[in-house]
């Protein structure tokens, strides 16, 4: 059977060569196989060559208006919601300078597919997005060293870069913050309810207090609803372990545990290290137990994907909700029908029981710009000029802050160009108070999808009672070492 299949494949290879008319009278199967693989190789070489003169080809094809010799820019955008803004910005730049700027936005969840397909094309992106060290490793051959560029110089916090293989592989294009989103109005009102464990929201300064408040609200939820006229079902919004929500815990919450461990180890906070011991996993467990036990969701069904934490919080059914500043737009959009408004929204740190007095919100990004090192020199120059324009010109700054609603990490964004996002305002307040921002240490996760899948599986089993905490520990610690080793091998 195998032999038969082989002969079918080989004969098909022969048919192929005959059809294309390039393989002469190759009569033996071996020769046919050789021809076709040679054909494949020569295709590769050809396209490799043609990548070299991408600039010329692109200029010929699309940038008819651009003066000859100038490079062109091709931005592969990561955030679907800012597609139009980038296109508008590109049009303004082309109008002002004559340099062609092409913007392509990958649809959500398809960035890696799109990037992989686009980078293989003749007109490859000159700017693309990478999210973490793993991605920097994957695309190492394609990242241009950004140290010494204007982009890097303007960066206000030099830790917001990805250093890989001795170069600045990518620079953050925005920063985001996450923590525990809370309903300010309800929480304030709660303080006046008889028997409340705090007298003011500011009393919540550590994990123990937060837990006491959450438990109290959850235990007396009917009483509080009667007293305040609210329709709470629990203190915390449901901690869904389905793929649409589990990253909040396997990524963001785990990130806090990783942060403290890396801090102790003294290694790079976002690059991490090959072995971890899960030093702060007990704290992770405490926070997780609080999320689960003080929400109305059935712990046995968290993985099902039925719960929607944003809706619960938005409808005033929950007081606390672990998530990030990107939730602001959805929560305040009147079309969504939510009950919360801008004034209700606040964000506090994920008090972890380690250094609560100094802990701020978790600030970082998964959006870094990388410049394609395989692009032509003119294109690279044009690309760097475009990026500098974006972060220094009025049009660029206005677009990023006011239209895309992002918080840019560059020293040029001051005054009118500061963010209006309520959560970002809270972050600024914490920073002004001298708190330490928690870095996004989960960016160091090796083979991030695989590692998280195993952690979520173990966490699910622990939560629904079919497994124990040791399995979570194993997935967290041993899984890290395994995946790290796999990633190392792949280099």
């Amino acid at each position: 059977m195998k032999r038969k299949l082989l002969s079918v494949i080989l004969s098909s290879a022969m048919a192929v060569t005959l059809l294309t008319g390039c393989g002469g009278g190759s009569s033996t199967p071996d020769a046919a196989a050789d021809t076709s693989s040679e054909a494949a190789e020569s295709t590769v070489e050809e396209s490799a060559e043609s990548t070299e003169d991408t600039g010329a080809a692109a200029a010929e094809e699309e940038a008819a208006a651009a003066p000859a010799g100038d490079g062109s820019v091709y931005l592969l955008n990561f955030k679907p919601e800012s597609d139009q803004q980038w296109k508008d910005l590109a049009a303004i730049y082309t109008e002002q300078t004559g340099v062609e700027v092409n913007v392509l936005t990958a649809a959500e969840g398809t960035y890696s597919t799109t990037l992989q397909a686009e980078l293989a094309k003749d007109e490859a992106p000159t700017i693309f997005n990478i999210g973490n060290v793993t991605a920097a490793q994957t695309w190492n051959d394609y990242t241009y060293d950004l140290s010494g560029t204007a982009l890097y110089d303007h960066l206000s916090d030099k830790s917001l870069v990805i250093n890989y293989d001795g170069k600045v592989a990518a620079v953050a294009n925005c920063y985001e913050c996450y923590g525990i989103i809370y309903n300010k109005t309800i929480l304030n009102d709660y303080c006046s309810v008889e028997g409340a464990v705090i007298s003011s929201v500011d009393d919540i300064k550590d994990f123990a207090t937060l837990k006491a408040v959450a438990e109290d609200i959850n235990n007396r939820v009917d009483e509080i609803n009667d007293a305040l006229g609210t329709n709470l079902t629990g203190a915390f919004a449901s901690a869904g372990l389905d793929s649409g929500s589990s990253w909040r815990f396997s990524g963001h919450l785990a990130g806090v545990a990783l942060y403290y461990e890396f801090l102790d180890a003294g290694c790079d906070l976002v690059a991490g290290q090959g072995e971890i011991e899960g030093k702060y996993l007990d704290n992770f467990k405490n926070v997780w137990d609080m999320y689960v036990s003080t929400s109305s969701a059935d712990p046995k069904t968290l993985e099902g994907g039925t719960y929607n934490a944003e809706m619960e919080f938005g409808m005033g059914e929950a007081v606390f909700f672990q998530n990030g500043n990107w939730e602001y737009a959805a929560l305040t959009n009147p079309d969504n029908g939510y009950e919360v408004t801008d004034e209700d929204l606040g964000m506090m740190p994920i008090y972890f029981g380690v250094d609560d007095a100094n802990e701020g919100l978790c600030v970082g990004t998964e959006n870094y710009w990388a410049v394609n090192s395989k692009a032509s020199e003119e294109d690279i120059a044009a690309t760097l000029a475009f990026l500098e324009w974006v972060i220094t010109s009025d049009e660029g700054r206005n677009s990023i802050t006011n239209e895309m609603g992002l918080s840019a990490p560059f020293d040029t964004f001051t005054g009118d160009y500061e963010s209006e996002n309520a959560f970002v305002r809270d972050n600024n307040k914490y920073m002004a108070d001298g708190k330490t921002a928690v870095a996004w240490s989960f960016n160091a996760t090796p083979n991030v999808d695989d590692w998280r899948a195993d952690v979520v599986a173990a966490l699910t089993a622990y939560t629904n009672g079919s497994g124990d905490w040791d399995a979570v520990k194993t997935a967290f610690v041993d899984g890290w070492a395994t995946q790290w080793q796999l990633a190392e091998e792949a280099k």
Binding site: L119, Q137, T138, D141, D242, G304
Partner: protein, 285 residues
């Protein structure tokens, strides 16, 4: 006659074959080649021989059974879905070619689930399943078997209408005089079905089993949206397993490609066997 037609190869076959070469053969051969390479983009590869293939089963010196598990899970899934879909859609097609009132409406209704795919529909099904299972404190991904039957239900729901259409076309292709003749000879309904309808339908049955077979093996969207492979990769069908390998693990695109080749060879063997089996039963006209 065959001789006369033969010369017309360039007109009848060549256009399709050229497109087929561009759209399938060339990418496919190149894809096989890449399964022996380490690559990030398809123009940027390095020959590594068979190491991608060994890494499917041995990871860090340990035996890795996730691929094998997903292999038999997929096989079981395909077998069950092929049976259910074909039996049900054939029955419906028979009933809906008898000219009962509302035939057109029913045919359209059964076909409609096919028209809308992807994330939203899976979400609606997720809601339906979970709202029922919540009474028992269970979800669709509580165990791999809940996931299994959930997937079966959604896939049957989507494909029964599709196969029904093919069966309807096939049944209507059976010459009416053949059936009339059998009736005059005094054949009852069961005899009619066994001795006339089924043999005449053999080509259609071949088409439908083959389609459901390959659909079962290639299922991806519903798997991703409904169970996402949970609990813990236990409900990962092969296509999702391959996808996961390509994107979940750095530098493993080649391994994903190698899995795809193994997968292809396996399904090819099964499908060829199936095709041989049911073609041999077809009535030669």
């Amino acid at each position: 006659m065959e001789k006369a037609i033969k010369r017309y190869f360039p007109i009848f076959v060549l256009p399709t074959m050229i497109a087929f070469f561009i759209g399938f053969i060339a990418p496919f051969v190149y894809g096989i080649f890449l399964s022996f390479c380490k690559f990030t983009t398809v123009v940027d590869w390095e020959w590594v021989g068979f190491s991608n293939y060994t890494r499917i089963f041995y990871v860090n010196g340990k035996l890795d059974t996730t691929f094998l598990h997903s292999l038999w899970y997929t096989t079981l899934f395909t077998a069950v879905s092929v049976l259910i879909i074909n039996i049900v859609s054939f029955s419906i097609a028979m009933a809906l070619t008898k000219g009962i009132k509302g035939t057109n409406i029913f045919r359209t209704v059964f076909f409609m689930p096919n028209l809308i795919g992807g994330i939203v529909l899976s979400y609606i099904w997720l809601m339906l399943f979970n709202s029922v299972l919540a009474h028992f404190s269970k979800t669709i991904v509580s165990t791999q078997w809940y996931a299994f039957w959930g997937l079966i239900i959604v896939v049957c729901w989507q494909q029964i209408g599709y196969m029904m259409i093919i069966y309807v076309a096939g049944i209507q292709n059976i010459p009416g005089d053949l059936i009339e003749a059998a009736k005059i000879d005094g054949a009852n309904n069961l005899q009619l079905l066994r001795n006339v309808t089924l043999p005449m339908l053999m080509p259609t049955i071949t088409v439908c089993t083959f389609l459901t077979l390959t659909n079962g093996f290639k299922l991806f969207d519903q798997n991703l949206a409904l169970t996402g492979g949970n609990p813990g990769k236990m409900s990962q069908l092969l296509a999702l397993n391959i996808y996961d390998t390509m994107y979940g693990t750095t530098g493993w695109q080649g391994v994903g490609q190698a899995k795809a080749v193994i997968f292809f060879i396996l399904v090819a063997l099964i499908a060829l066997a199936q095709n041989k089996l049911s073609t041999s039963k077809e009535v030669q006209s």
